[in-house]
C-alpha cells in the first residue's frame, strides 16, 4: 500500500509551500491537531497523519518495527520521502516529540525546524533525573489500558478502518477517536514510556521550540526544561495551560507560540 494510504495522510494548504508535518501523541490520532494545524494552512503545506496502529493506520502496525520509537521515526521519514517533503517543520506532540528528534537526527537535511509539544526524553525517574514516573507507575498504566480493553471489541477495528477519512467531528469520530486495539495500545505504551532518548537530544541540529504546559502530569515542567537545555539551539515556551494536551486545551496560545517561533526563530530566554 502507498505510504499516504497506509498512514492515513491528510494534506491541506498550499502544496507548493513549505511543509509542516504534524504528528500526534500516544492515545489518539491526528484529530488531536484539529484546532491547530488548520491555522497554518494559509502559509504552509499542512500534512497530518495517523501513527501506525492509531486512527486510520491500524493496518500499518508491525509488532517488530514498532517495538521502539525508531520504527515510528522511520515511518515519518518514509512519509517525507514519499511526499517529497523538504525543509520540513516537524510538529510533534507528546511521544511524537521524541519521534521527531529521532527522525531529525537520522536525516538531518530533511527538517528545518522542530516544534516539540510536551516532550519527554524519558518518563521513568533515573538517579538524579526526574521523569515523573516510577517503573511501577508504568505498570499501572498498562493495567489501566487493560481495564479499558472493555471499551474495545473486535468489531471496532473494521469500523475504524472503514472510516479512514473522518472529515467531520461527528458520530464517526466519537466511535473511533482515542480507541485503539488494546494489544497495540499496550505495545505503544511500552515503546513510549520505557524509552530513553536523552542521549539523542544534543544531536538535534535544527532550531527547536519546546512548548510546555505550566502544569503537566505526564511531561512536567522540569522535563521540558531538561529538553530545552539539552538541545543546542532550543527555546522553551511555557504556556499558561493545564494538562498534557495544550493543542486541545489552549490552541490559541499553542498556535501563537508556533507562529512566533517560525517567523522569529528561537530566543534563548523566554517563558
Amino acid at each position: 500500500m502507498e505510504v499516504t494510504a497506509r498512514f492515513n495522510v491528510v494534506e491541506t494548504g498550499d502544496r507548493d509551500a513549505q511543509p509542516m508535518l504534524f504528528a500526534h501523541g500516544f492515545g489518539c490520532d491526528q484529530n488531536m491537531w484539529r484546532f491547530v494545524a488548520p491555522r497554518f494552512a494559509e502559509e504552509f503545506r499542512v500534512v497530518c497523519f495517523d501513527h501506525a496502529g492509531a486512527g486510520g493506520s491500524i493496518a500499518a502496525y508491525d509488532v517488530e518495527r514498532h517495538a521502539s520509537l525508531e520504527g515510528y521515526a522511520e515511518d515519518v521519514l518514509d512519509i517525507c520521502t514519499e511526499l517529497g517533503l523538504q525543509d520540513v517543520v516537524f510538529v510533534g506532540h507528546s511521544v511524537s516529540a521524541m519521534i521527531g528528534v529521532l527522525a531529525q537526527v537520522r536525516d538531518p537535511g530533511r527538517f528545518s525546524r522542530l516544534v516539540l509539544v510536551g516532550p519527554s526524553p524519558r518518563y521513568v525517574d533515573d538517579g538524579d533525573y526526574v521523569g515523573g514516573f516510577t517503573a511501577a507507575d508504568i505498570d499501572g498504566l498498562l493495567d489501566s489500558l487493560a481495564s479499558n480493553y472493555l471499551g474495545w471489541s473486535s468489531q471496532m477495528a473494521p469500523l475504524i478502518m472503514g472510516n479512514p477519512e473522518r472529515p467531520e467531528l461527528g458520530e464517526e469520530l466519537t466511535t473511533s477517536f482515542c480507541r485503539t486495539d488494546p494489544d497495540i495500545a499496550q505495545r505503544f505504551a511500552r515503546a513510549t514510556f520505557l524509552s530513553d532518548n536523552r542521549a539523542d537530544l544534543p544531536k538535534v541540529s535544527v532550531p527547536t521550540l519546546v512548548l510546555q504546559s505550566r502544569e503537566d502530569a505526564i511531561a512536567p515542567l522540569e522535563v521540558g526544561g531538561y529538553v530545552a537545555a539539552a538541545i543546542p539551539d532550543c527555546e522553551l515556551v511555557v504556556l499558561d495551560a493545564v494538562g498534557h494536551c495544550p493543542n486541545l486545551s489552549a490552541p490559541e496560545q499553542t498556535v501563537a507560540a508556533i507562529e512566533r517561533f517560525l517567523h522569529e526563530g528561537p530566543s534563548r530566554v523566554r517563558s
Binding site: 489518539c28 507507575d137 466519537t174 502530569a217 494538562g243 486545551s249
Partner: protein, 379 residues
Amino acid sequence: MSGAEAAGAPTGEPPCGFLSTTPAGVITGANATLLSWTGHRAEDLVGRRFSALLTAGGRIYHDTHYAPLLVMSGEVKAVALEILRADGSVLPVLVNAVLDRDGEGEPRGIRVAVFDASDRRSYERELLIAKRQAEESEARAVDLARTLQRTFIPPVPPTIPHLEIAAGYRPAGRGDEVGGDFYDAFQVGNTWLIVLGDVSGKGVDAAVVTTLVRHTVRALAVHSTLPSEILTGLNRVLLDHETDRFCTLVIMSLGRTGGHWSLTTSTGGHPLPVLVRDGRSGGIGGPGSLVGAFDDPEFVDATVELAVHDRVVLFTDGVTEGRDGDQYYGEDRLHRLLRTPSQDAAELAHAVVDDAVDFQGDLPRDDIAVVVLRVPPTD
C-alpha cells in the same frame, strides 16, 4: 441542558459519586457519596485537579485518552480508572463525564459520575487473566504443532554425491495444526532411500503415526532396501499398531553403478512419482495399495535407469488436489510446470510449492510436500 426531559425531580442522595469541575478539570464540588467512598473531605477536594485523585497510570490514561475524548466529543462513558482514597488505598471506578458548553459553545464545566466498580473490576481481572491464559495456551499449542511438524522432515536436505536433491514443504493453513505429510532421505550401505508420504488425518494422533512410519521405514530398510518389501513390512506394522490410521507413500531406492543411477520405486496408495526427461513427463511404476489398510496389499517395484538432466519428482496430493473454488490444481498443471526446461532441483521444488500455494490463494487446505531429484551433467 438539552435532550430528554426528566420525569420529575429525583430526591435524595444519588447512589453514585458525582463531581463537577472547571473545563480544565479543577474540582468545584463533590457529593456526599463520593466523599464517603473516598474518605476525602470536601475542602481537600475542591481546588484539586480531578486527575490528581487518580493513580499514576490512570493519570496518564486520563491525559492521553479521557481528556482529549471529552474535548472532542463532549462526553466519555464507562472509562475504567482508579481513585486514590484518603488513606492511600485504591478504589476502582467506572466514570462517565459530560462537558457542558455555554451559549457560545465555550466549555463551561465538566460533570463526572463515578461508579464503584470494585467487584466488577475483580471479575474483569479474572476474565483478563483467563483471556491471557487462553492466548498463551493457544500460542503454546501452535508452537508445539510447528515443532512437531519440523520432525517430519530432515532438518537439512541431505547431499547425495552425483545427484541433486531438493525438497519443498508447506504445512496446511497457517501452520498452526500438525498435518501428516513427511519425507525422508537416508543412506543404507551404498543405496540411497527417498521416502515421501502422507498419513491420514491431522493433529496429535496423526503426528504419532507419522513419526512411527518414518522410523519404521528406516528400521525396515536395514533388512531390505527393496521398496516393495519395505512397504509390505510397514503395512504389517501399521495393521498391528492400535491406530486405525493408514498412510500413502512412495519409497524409492537409488544405487549408482558404472557412473549411472538406477532407481527402483514402489508406491502405496500415493500419486506416482514423475520422471521428466527431454521435455516429456510421465509417472514411474504402477499404483499400489494404501498402506496400513489391507491384510494382503499389493506393492510392485519399477526400475528406471536415469540419464543426465533427468528429473524425478515426488509429491503429495496437497499439490494436485489443491482447490481454487471448484477448480482442482490437477496433474496436468503440475506436469506442465515440471516440463519447464532447465531448472535445477531446488528451483523446481520451490516452483512447485509456490505454484500450488498461489493457486489456493496463499492458504493451502492440505500440507504440501515435494522432493525433486535431478541428475546433474557429468562431472
